[in-house]
Symmetry: C2
Subunit: 115 residues, 2 copies
DNA sequence: TGATTACTTAGCCATATGGCTAAGCATGAT
DNA sequence: ATCATGCTTAGCCATATGGCTAAGTAATCA
């Protein structure tokens, strides 16, 4: 198990960092330059650059350089695979809820609790 | 930026691995023992155990030991924060689509393309 | 031309991650 | 009582991640 869905892995990994999520939220308000994105993080430019690189490799943002300034913007469609996977899972999970409830009930009775 | 939402970070990180996602999908079909979960992965037991630990720390699964067998089951509500964050973002992102479109159009004209 | 500004690249460092083997320990079967 | 089963722990290893400083490069501005 280490090949399928590189998209999902890249996306989830990109979203797993608070700094990167904050950057995305900030970009939701409109495009911004690298320096402007770095300011509120308290991190150094190279560090922020790498976070941006991770976001861009995941396809979550796009950037373009105008003069000496690089502007970054979100790519809204990029979250589609994530929504898709989550919806699929939710369907599966909910579809099995009864069986899981039964199972949990049985465990409760037999062991008292977990572990 | 390195403190808020430990939940989301844990969840997204847990979901960022294909093996872990495969385990979740498998568990959607009903609870399973550690050995049964390990089989299809081609990985060794200790390795799978650690994946399970990550999933459990994120709250995505729960496990209970019956005799010498540990059974694992998904925790459906666990995905709620993820759905929540994604929906919030989608709302934000879509709310700004016009502005982003304008921006992209402008970039296209000015630079020809990205970078 | 020269100084700023805004990235960019290179490279170091500590910790985390994902894989493994080798033992250990408790439970169920013989 | 013994042995097999199923997990568990400990610990090693290579690579990845997230942070930094220092030293570029390229575009403005004075």
């Amino acid at each position: 198990m280490a090949k399928h869905d590189p998209d999902l892995s890249l996306l989830f990994h990109a979203l797993s960092d608070p700094t990167r999520r904050a950057i995305l939220t900030r970009l939701a308000g409109g495009p911004a330059a690298v320096t402007d994105l770095a300011a509120p993080t308290g991190l150094r430019l190279p560090t922020v650059m790498r976070h941006l690189a991770v976001l861009e490799e995941a396809g979550l943002i796009a950037s373009a350089k105008e003069g000496r300034v690089r502007s970054c913007a979100i790519v809204p469609e990029a979250l589609a695979p994530v929504h898709g996977w989550l919806d699929d899972q939710r369907a599966l999970w909910e579809g099995r809820l009864d069986r899981l409830d039964d199972y949990v009930m049985r465990l409760m009775k037999e062991t008292g609790h977990d572990d």
